[in-house]
Structure formats: structure tokens, C-alpha cells
Amino acid sequence: MKHTISVLVENHSGVLSRITGLFSRRGFNIESLAVGPTNDPEVSRITIIADGDEHTVEQIEKQLNKLIEVIKVRTLQKDECFARELMMVKLNCPADKRSEIMTIAEMTEAKIVDVTLTTVTLEICARYNKLERFIEIVAPYGIIELVRTGTIAIQKGSESITAKK
């Protein structure tokens, strides 16, 4: 089962390697990883999608908490958060296919970020599943290049995961 784990860490060099090292040496699987600063420049937020049963996820949380630079760990349930990934896809696009692809972009809320005589580059930000479907739809045109970020997630409603000073 997949779990979304939000981790607040001190923005020190080497923190990311401590976290990924912990996952590999304890045999936990990372499906995706996204790291970035928060509104507090001293704190970074890492979102990890990990695969494992309840016992594994409990151990992941506890072991992460043991790292000195980890400030907070929270596993987010699917229905309590918004999760997004950003993806950019470069497609084969001869002139006669442009309008078709534009329609797909419109229907899927993807953005056209670049066009050449033979290609088009689309950008889409959505949940993991929606991106998978999007890939299916555009694949027939010929994917030249595809790049996506890891998932980031935020809680619904007024609750928040923040670091106290």
C-alpha cells in the first residue's frame, strides 16, 4: 500500500542523504520524493511516497523521527490531503495534429508551454492517477521526452504541518 509521508527537516546540507540512506538501509521503498524550502527558510519539507504495510509505515515514521534534523513526520491519509505532481511532456506534433492536441490540452487542463514546427511541449499539474491517464491519451502522438516531479501534498482544511521555533 502507498503512503504519503510529509517530513519537515532542518534546512542543513546532508539532511536529504540521511533520509534516503535511512530508507535504503532499512529496506523501505521510496516511490517518489519531492524536496523544497518552506515559508521558513530554515525548514525544508520533504514529501515521500512509500510503499509498505502498516507496520512498515509505522517504522518509517519512528525511524525518521530519530534523525536529529527531522522536526516533524506526518503520514497523510488519502482523503485528508491534496496531492499534486507536475509533469512536462514533449510530443511529436506535425502541423495537422496541432488542433487535436490543443483540444486534449484544454480538456485535461494541461498548458502548452512550447511549440515548434514538429513538436509541442505540454505542462500538467495533477494527481498521480490523472497524470497516468494523461500519458495514455497523448502516447499515440509519440512521446519524445517526459519529465515529472515527485508528489507534494498538503492537508485539506485549516489544519497544517508546521515547525515551531
Binding site: 538501509r25 519512528k62 530519530k66 536529529i68
Partner: protein, 539 residues
């Protein structure tokens, strides 16, 4: 106050009341050594960095406070890793200070450069690569705090040469505040009530003590609680000597090499109260079966240990000393005479089979030795057959202490750890028990003991074999014994002589009497070689 960062490092150690450090110099740590020279802190030149780490470990285990070891960059630092991993596995607080190449050279593979913070990462509680000399006071303060609090463990501080040479304004912080590190010490009152109520309801309760009891210095508390509630006690290997063997409530060490009374107790009890024990695979081979039949109550300061190896019905996070104190206040006397009587029937008399000519039965010798040595002797077992013979056969008197590399099983631990232990408390007799294999992994430290006149006692069990592996091959590999023959070993008596160490060899009961006298009475370093049958087994 303005000073060199290397001087500041020394001031930090002084502020932490460090009297002894174990180290091995090299170019990258020379600025620090230069400042250390006139500091009044005693430097013990070890003969290998890993042993320096073990010496610090032995010192820390007896003093109860973080101890310091030092190595230079590159190979020096990398040599320390075994000691770091050993300390990590047994939760021993050591501070490892390593030199590093100049900041601007890091990453360019210069002479004696190794990414030690990266390499040691899996085995440290925390580590620092100091890039700004101004951070030194804070880093040292934090390092000692992190190493010694919560679940203790090794902390590494890697300091590049140019950082050591920089000038800083020194002011040692009075307190530490790490927002992401707040270990729980007191136990949750509600959980404590529930644990007590489960123990009261139990008809066959059992307490199992691990190394956490020493980390927390809770020997007195666990003794008190067990006696108030009249609950039988067993230990893991790391918990040995938290209870005296003379105590009627004590039923020995459990596990693969444990004693019958302890293992039967685990299988028969209805409530198992684990105190600072992580239920390692050598202690409980089938935790899943145990958690099905037995109610598990588990105290640990590290929440990650609760539920990791065995599911706990009642988890209780906290420092054993505090938690047990809280429990003692509320504990009511219980009666478990039948249960204790049942367990008493599983106690086995020690029967020693006669050994073949020219050898002695190792269990007999250990038993004999333990009854002759002072009660408060610190005995450090190495790893292998000698460890099991000592763990199960050394009779722990009141105030005695047993130590070993329990988690990592690091051969060559005993002698250096004994040196550290003896320096932490010179008033006690400290004795290393090792095999001829393990001694040869650390015998260079005999020179360290001689140089600094650290009066340790060494018992080496010679069977010319890597006995534990030999035994495994005999039983598990159809007797195909390979790579376990120690032919070519030196004459250990001559070796001791070469170091100027008093020694004798035990080949029969008569020479054993002389040897025990030497170990007990001689005011100096002594080495006793005990000749053991190559087929003597632990199981």
C-alpha cells in the same frame, strides 16, 4: 574570548569534564593535538583507531558519560567505523573527533581524504562536518548532549584542518535547545497504571532486562520493583549483571545461548515485561510466536524499538530509571510463590565434565575464577565461545559488571574496552576474557596498557580455533571445518613477556589455582592463558 578553533575544541572537552581521550594523530588532526598537548587532558595513544573507539566505549560504560576518541582524516577515520558501529549497536555514548582535509580540498580526493560523515552515517546517532569554525562550541555542546541523552549513541564531529586553524570567539553554550530532539524521559502516568495493573493481574509475570537498564542507570530501581512485586527476572546478554546471580528472583540469560531456566520462563510466562531490551534475534528467535501467547509490556526510551521486533500490548516510552521510579511509588506487593517454585525446578546445577589432559574445562575455569575475584569486578567478554562461557558461567556477585559487544558482535572488543573501563574506575578490578582469535584482533593494545600502566587482567582461552565458527561448521556444515585453524599464533606467554607483562598458563586444576591468584592479587597487568579442548562447545 578569542582563540584558535583547535584550542576551542579543547576548551569544549574541558567544559564537558573530559579527563581522558583515546586517539591516534595524523596530519589533519595536528592542530587539535597541538592545542591538546598543554591542556591537562590525558591523551592515551592507542595502537589502532578502532581500539581507541572501543576504549572510549569501555570508559563510557563505566563512567556513564560520553567518552572521547580521536582519529585523523582518511584511513584513521575509516578505521574508527567498526568502533562506531559497535557503540551504535549497543547504544554506548562516544564522541568521535576526526580531522578532515582543508575545506577547499573536500571532494577532490586529496591525500588521506575520506567522506567519514557519509561513510559512518548508518552507524551514528548524529554527525557533524564543521565548515564554519564559529560553530565549534555549539556543535560540541550538542554532540555531548545528543550522545548522552535519550537512547545513547555515538556522535561524530569531523573538523577540517583549516577550520581547526581558524580564529574564533569562544563562548561555550550553557544549554542546548534542539527543537527536533526532545527525548521523553518520564513515562505516561496512564500507561504506567495500565502496566502495573497487567503485572498485578498476571499469574506468571516475568521481567526481562536489556542493556537499556545500564544506559539509564536503573539497576537499583529494577531490583527494587522486582522485589516489591515478587516477579522473577531474566536478562538479555546486554542486561547481564543488572541482577546478581545470588538473587533468588534471578533466572539467568535467555536466548540461543541462554540458560534453560530463562528460556523456559519466557515460554511459560503469561505477562512479559521488557525493560530496555530490544528483543534481538539472538535473544528471541520467534518473537511472533511469543507475542501470540504472551502479553508483552515494553519500556524503551526509543519509541522505534517498541513494536519493531516484537509487538507490544502495552508500549511505554521513557527512561527506565524514571519510569521504574514512578512504578515503584504505586507498586503493591504480590505473591508468586508457585510460579517461582516452578521456575526453580528448571535451574540446572553446574556440572563440569573433566577435561582431557593438558586442558581445562572453560566453564569450570570461568566459574572458579568468578568466585575468586572481587564481587565488583568488571568482566569484559569478547566475542565467540569465550563470550558465551563467560556470559552464562561467570557468577556475578553484588555490584559486579559484565560487558560485551552484544549487538554488533565485534571481535577484539574486550581488551580495549577493559582498558577504557579500568581508566574510568581504577579502584575496580577489570578483566578481559577473550579467545586466541579475538586477542589477535586487539593484542596491540597490550602496549597501550603497558605505556599508560592500566592494570587490566587478560584471560585468553586458547583452543587454536575460531571456536564459535568451528562449532557452527561442526553442527551445520557436516563437520567441514574450514578457515578456523589458528596455527601460526604466537606463544602468548612469550608475547606477554615481550611486553613485560606478568603471565601464566593454565593446563590443569593446579595451574588454574595459581592463575586465579595472579589475576586476583597481582597489582599490575596480568595475562593468563587457559588451554581449552579444541572440541569444547557452547551448546
Amino acid at each position: 574570548m578569542k582563540m584558535k578553533a583547535s584550542q576551542a575544541m579543547v576548551e569544549c572537552l574541558k567544559a564537558e569534564n573530559i579527563k581522558v581521550v583515546y586517539g591516534y594523530p595524523g596530519a589533519a588532526i595536528c592542530p587539535f593535538y597541538d592545542s591538546l598537548m598543554d591542556s591537562g587532558i590525558r591523551h592515551v595513544l592507542v595502537r589502532h583507531e578502532a581500539n581507541g573507539g572501543h576504549e572510549a566505549s569501555g570508559y563510557a560504560r563505566i563512567s556513564g558519560k560520553p567518552a572521547v576518541c580521536i582519529a585523523t582524516s582518511g584511513p584513521g577515520a575509516v578505521n574508527l567505523i567498526t568502533a562506531i558501529a559497535t557503540a551504535y549497536a549497543d547504544s554506548i555514548p562516544i564522541i568521535c573527533i576526526t580531522g578532515q582535509v582543508n575545506t577547499d580540498q573536500i571532494g577532490s580526493d586529496v591525500f588521506q581524504e575520506a567522506d567519514i560523515t557519509g561513510a559512518a552515517e548508518p552507524f551514528v546517532k548524529h554527525s557533524y562536518l564543521v565548515k564554519d569554525a564559529a560553530d565549534i562550541p555549539r556543535v560540541f555542546k550538542e554532540a555531548f548532549y545528543i550522545a548522552g541523552t535519550g537512547r545513547p549513541g555515538p556522535v561524530l564531529i569531523d573538523v577540517p584542518m583549516d577550520v581547526q586553524r581558524a580564529e574564533i570567539d569562544f563562548d561555550y553554550p550553557k544549554s542546548v535547545d534542539i527543537r527536533s530532539y526532545k527525548p521523553t524521559t518520564k513515562g505516561n502516568a496512564f500507561q504506567i497504571k495500565r502496566v502495573l495493573s497487567e503485572l498485578e493481574k498476571a499469574s506468571k509475570p516475568l521481567i526481562c532486562i536489556g542493556g537499556g537498564v545500564f544506559a539509564s542507570n536503573a539497576q537499583e530501581e529494577i531490583n527494587e520493583l522486582a522485589h516489591i512485586m515478587n516477579i522473577p527476572v531474566i536478562t538479555t546478554m546486554m542486561g547481564i549483571s543488572a541482577f546478581s546471580d545470588d538473587d533468588p528472583l534471578f533466572f539467568g540469560m535467555l536466548g540461543m545461548h541462554g540458560v534453560k531456566s530463562a528460556n523456559t520462563a519466557v515460554n511459560e510466562c503469561d505477562v512479559l515485561f521488557l525493560v530496555g531490551a530490544r528483543v534481538g534475534d539472538r535473544a528471541v528467535r520467534t518473537p511472533l510466536a511469543l507475542e501470540k501467547t504472551t502479553k508483552i509490556l515494553h519500556i524503551d526510551i526509543d519509541p522505534a524499538e517498541i513494536g519493531k521486533n516484537i509487538g507490544a500490548d502495552l508500549p511505554l516510552v521513557g527512561d527506565a530509571k524514571y519510569v521504574l521510579r514512578q512504578m515503584i511509588e504505586k507498586a503493591k506487593p504480590q505473591q508468586h510463590d508457585e510460579w517461582i517454585a516452578e521456575l526453580n525446578t528448571y535451574r540446572q546445577e553446574r556440572v563440569f565434565e573433566p577435561a582431557k589432559a593438558g586442558t581445562v574445562n572453560p566453564r569450570w575455569f570461568i566459574d572458579r575464577l568468578s568466585r575468586a575475584m572481587p564481587d565488583d569486578t568488571v568482566v569484559v567478554a569478547d566475542v565467540g565461545q569465550n563470550q558465551i562461557w563467560t556470559a552464562t558461567g561467570y557468577h556475578i556477585g553484588k555490584g559486579g559488571r559484565f560487558m560485551t559487544s552484544g549487538g554488533m558482535g565485534t571481535m577484539g572488543y574486550s581488551l580495549p574496552a577493559a582498558i577504557g573501563a579500568k581508566m574510568a574506575d581504577p579502584s575496580r578490578t577489570v578483566m578481559a576474557v577473550c579467545g586466541d582469535g579475538s586477542l589477535q584482533m586487539c593484542m596491540m593494545e597490550l602496549a597501550t596498557a603497558v605505556q599508560h600502566d592500566v592494570k587490566v587482567k587478560v584471560v585468553v582461552m586458547t583452543n587454536n580455533r575460531l571456536g564459535m565458527v568451528r562449532e557452527l561448521q561442526t553442527k551445520g556444515y557436516d563437520g567441514r571445518e574450514t578457515a578456523v585453524f589458528l596455527d601460526g599464533s604466537p606463544d602468548f606467554i612469550k608475547l606477554a613477556e615481550a611486553y613485560g607483562i606478568k603471565s601464566c598458563r593454565v593446563t590443569d586444576e593446579k595451574s588454574a589455582v595459581e592463575a586465579v591468584k595472579l589475576l586476583r592479587d597481582y597489582d599490575g597487568i596480568a595475562l593468563v592463558e587457559v588451554i581449552v579442548d579444541e572440541n569444547a562447545a557452547t551448546l
